[in-house]
C-alpha cells in the first residue's frame, strides 16, 4: 500500500514538473509573437485611440485634448436632419434584408443572439441612412462620406469578383491538367509585383492615346475610352487592375484547398447521380469552406484598405469618383498634418472592418454538419 502511494506521489511530482516545463515551453513558443503583437499592434491601436481624442499636429507641438470632436467632425454636420424619404429604396432594401435574417431564423427555429444582433444592426443602418443635411445644412467632412461610399462600392464589387474568379480558375486547373502548374505560376506572378509596377503597366495598357487596349478595340469600331479620366469608368479600371493583381493569390489558396477534398466523395456523388453542378454544391463547396472563409475575410480586409492603385492611377479622381477612405486618412495625416483626425477615421474604418469580418466569420464559418 505504501509502495503504491509512493509511486503515485512520484508520478504526481513528474506530472507537475512536466506541466511546469510545458508551460515554460509554451510561453517561450508564443512569447516572441506576443511581444511583437503588443509592440506593433496593440500599442499603436491604443496610441491611435489616444490621438483620436486630441488635436494632434504631425509637425508641431499642438496636442490639445478635444474629446470626441474629431468623431463629430467626421460623422456630423450643420443642420443635419432625419427624414423617412431619404435614401428610401436603399433603406427599404436593408430593412428587407433584416426581415430575411429574422424570418429565416424563425422558420428554422434557430433564432440565435447572432441573428438578432444582425437584424438589429441592419435596422440601425437603415435608421442611420435617414440622416442628411437640411436645406441650409452640410456635412462637416463630405469627403469622408464620398470616400466611404467609394470604398464600400469597391469592396462590394471587387471582393466577390476576385474570390469568385480565383475559385473558377482553381477549378479549371484542378486535377493535374497539363500545364496547370505553369498557368498557376503565370496567374500568381502579378501578385508579387509592387503596386508601382502594376499601376504603371495598367496605366499604359489603358491609355486612350497609346494603350494596347485602345489598339485592340479600334478594329472593332470602338473609339478610345479615357478609362482613368472619366467618372464613368475610373472605378471600373481600378477594380480591373486590382483583380489582375491579386486574383492569383486566391487561386493558389483555392487550389490548395481543393486538393484536400476527399476524392472518394466525388465518386460517391457520381454513384448517387450528381452532375458537375451537384458535385460542386454538395462536395466541393463544403470541402473548401474554411478556405472560402479565409479568402473572403482576407479579401474584404484588403479591399477596405485599397489605396496604392487609386493614389497612383487616379489620385482619387476624376472629381472624387475614386476617392477612398485610406487616401483621405493618408492626406489628412501626412498632407494636412492632422494626426488626431486621421486616427479617428482610421478607428472608424477599423470598426467597420471588424464588424464585417465578424459577420463573415459567423455566417461563412458556420458548420451546418454539426
Amino acid at each position: 500500500m505504501a509502495t503504491i502511494q509512493a509511486e503515485r506521489a512520484v508520478a504526481t511530482a513528474r506530472a507537475s514538473r512536466g506541466g511546469k516545463s510545458g508551460l515554460r515551453y509554451g510561453i517561450a513558443f508564443i512569447g516572441p509573437f506576443v511581444a511583437l503583437y503588443v509592440v506593433f499592434v496593440l500599442i499603436p491601436v491604443v496610441q491611435a485611440v489616444v490621438m483620436s481624442v486630441h488635436d494632434w499636429d504631425l509637425l508641431g507641438h499642438t496636442r490639445e485634448f478635444i474629446g470626441v470632436d474629431n468623431y463629430v467632425r467626421m460623422l456630423w454636420g450643420v443642420d443635419i436632419t432625419w427624414s423617412m424619404g431619404h435614401l428610401f429604396w436603399w433603406r427599404l432594401a436593408v430593412l428587407a434584408l433584416a426581415a430575411v435574417v429574422v424570418v429565416s431564423a424563425v422558420r428554422r427555429r434557430r433564432l440565435t443572439v447572432w441573428n438578432a444582433a444582425g437584424a438589429i444592426g441592419l435596422v440601425a443602418i437603415a435608421f442611420a441612412l435617414g440622416f442628411h443635411p437640411g436645406e441650409t445644412g452640410f456635412w462637416y467632412d463630405p469627403r469622408f462620406w464620398t470616400a466611404l461610399q467609394n470604398t464600400l462600392l469597391f469592396t462590394a464589387v471587387s471582393t466577390p469578383l476576385i474570390a469568385g474568379l480565383g475559385l473558377v480558375m482553381a477549378l479549371a486547373l484542378q486535377g493535374g491538367r497539363r500545364g496547370a502548374r505553369w498557368y498557376q505560376m503565370a496567374f500568381f506572378l502579378p501578385y508579387i509585383l509592387p503596386v508601382s509596377v502594376v499601376t504603371l503597366i495598367w496605366t499604359y495598357f489603358l491609355s486612350p492615346n497609346q494603350g494596347l487596349l485602345a489598339a485592340l478595340l479600334e478594329p472593332l469600331g470602338i473609339a478610345p475610352i479615357p478609362w482613368l479620366s472619366s467618372t464613368d469608368t475610373a472605378m471600373i479600371a481600378i477594380i480591373a487592375t486590382t483583380v489582375w493583381w491579386t486574383v492569383g493569390f486566391n487561386l493558389v489558396l483555392f487550389a490548395a484547398g481543393l486538393q484536400d477534398v476527399d476524392a472518394s466523395l466525388y465518386e460517391a456523388a457520381s454513384l448517387d447521380g450528381a452532375g458537375p453542378w451537384g458535385k460542386f454544391i454538395h462536395v466541393t463547396l463544403p470541402g473548401i469552406r474554411h478556405v472560402l472563409l479565409l479568402v473572403m475575410v482576407m479579401q474584404v480586409i484588403a479591399s477596405f484598405q485599397v489605396f496604392g492603385q487609386v493614389n497612383i492611377m487616379t489620385g482619387g479622381g476624376p472629381g472624387s469618383a475614386t476617392d477612398v477612405v485610406i487616401r483621405h486618412i493618408y492626406q489628412t495625416g501626412f498632407r494636412d498634418f492632422e494626426l488626431g483626425y486621421a486616427s479617428a477615421m482610421s478607428l472608424v474604418l477599423f470598426a467597420i472592418m471588424l464588424v464585417v469580418s465578424v459577420i463573415q466569420m459567423k455566417y461563412l464559418g458556420k458548420d451546418e454538419s454539426k
Binding site: L42, I43, Q47, L58, H61, P226, L228, G317
Partner: protein
Amino acid sequence: MRKTRFAGAAASLTAAAMLLTACGTGTGTGSEAGSGADDLVDRIAAVTDDQLDGVTITMSRMFGDCEETTQGVTDPSLAASECEAIQILTNQFNAENEYGITVERLGGADWHSYYDAFNASVAGGDPADIANLHDYSMSDYAQRDQLLAFDPEAVGIDLSDSTAQAQSSVVYDDKTYAVPFDSHAILAHINTDILGAAGYMGEDGRPIMPTSADELLEMAAAVKEKTGTYLFSLGVANDDMAWRMFYSLVRQQGSDVVSADGEAQIDTPEAAAALELMNELIEGGYIHTDADYAGSIDEWKSGKSAILVNGTWVVNEYAATAPFGYAVTDFPALMGEPAVWASSHMWVLPRQRDDDPVAYRAALEFASFLYDNTDVWAVATGHIAPRVSVVESDAYQAAPNREFYTSTALNDIRFVPQIDNWTAVKDLIHTQLEEVWFNGKDVAAALAEAQSRVEQQLD
C-alpha cells in the same frame, strides 16, 4: 482573479502606451528651438572657414534619381533634365567649394512623394540639413518653427536681385526662411501648323494670341471649324492644370481666391467669370475634361489640339522633340491684366535637434552656391530664373524660347497666397470646380460651397 489580472495587464499596457505616446513621435526641435534665435544667428556668423573644412551636410530634394548619368560629372552644360541639373550642380559644389564642404543627398524621391518623406523626417526629428520646398508650403514649416530663419546678406545672397514675387515668397512673418531657386508658371505651348491653318500665325512667324475672352472664343471656333481640332489640351481629370488655368483667369481680374490677409474670397464675380469662361470652352467642344496630364500631352503631340496648357518645365523638351512647328508664348491675358499661376522651388534649412551652427553655415554656403547658379538650372530645365539679372542676361535669353516668356518671368507670375496649409485649401476649391466640370453642379452653388468650406478650413 482573472479579471483582476486582466485589468492589471490592461492598465500596464495603457500606461506603457501613454508613456510611448508622450515620448514618441518626436517633432524636431520643439519650441525651445525658437528661443535663443539671436544667439544662434551670432553663433552661425561666428563660424570660421576652418571649422567648415571637412563638414558633411545632408540634402533632400524632389527631382528624382539620376546617379547613372551624373556620377563624377561636374560640368553643368551636360545637364539635360531637372535631376541632372541639380545633381551636377551638387557634384560641382562638392568638387570646387573653397571650404571643403561635402553635400550628401538623402534617399531619392520625386515630387509626388517628396513631401511625405520630408514630413516624416521632420516629424522624426531628423530632417536633412538643406531641403527643397515649394513656395506654398514654406509657411507650414516656418510657422511651426521647423525652419531656420537667416540673414541672406550675411552669406552673400543678394535677394534684391530677385523678382518681387520671389522676394516675398521666401519671407514669412518678416523673416527670411528660404533661398529662391526658380519660378515655374503655365505657358501656352503651340502647334504652329494648326494655328497657321486656322489663320492665327503672324507674318513674323509668331502666334497671334487672343487678348480677351471674346477673342479666345472666336479663335476656338475658327480652330475647330478650319482644322477640326481642340483649341486647348489640358489636364482636367486627376490633374491640377485646369485649376491653374482657372486661378490664372481669376488673378487676371486683379482678384484672388484667398486675400493677402488670409480671408476666403472665392465666391466672387471674378471667380464666377473665370469658371464660366472655362465652361463655355468645354460646352463649345473647344476643350474637354477627359484628359489627365499625360493624356493632354499625348493629345497635343498627336496633333489633336492647337495649344497645350503646360508649364515652363517642358520647354526644352518640346523645342527638341515636337513633331510639328513649335512655339511657346506667355499664357494670354484674357480677363484683364497679364497674370498667370506660378510656383517656385526654394531651398530651406530645417531646424536640427543640435542646432549645430557649423552645419547651418555649411548649408547656407551651399544654398548661396545654388542661388549663384540659378542660370544653370533655368537654362537646363526651362524653369524661370528668380533673378532679374539672369532673366535679362544674353545667355538666358539665348536659350530656346526664353525670350518668348520674359514677360511671365518678370511681371506676370502670381504665386498662391502664403497661408496655413494651402494644399488643403486649394483642394477644397478644386473639388468644387470638379463638381462643376464632372457632375454638372451649378457655378454659383459650387463657389458658395467652396467659400464656406475654405472659411471653415481657415478658421
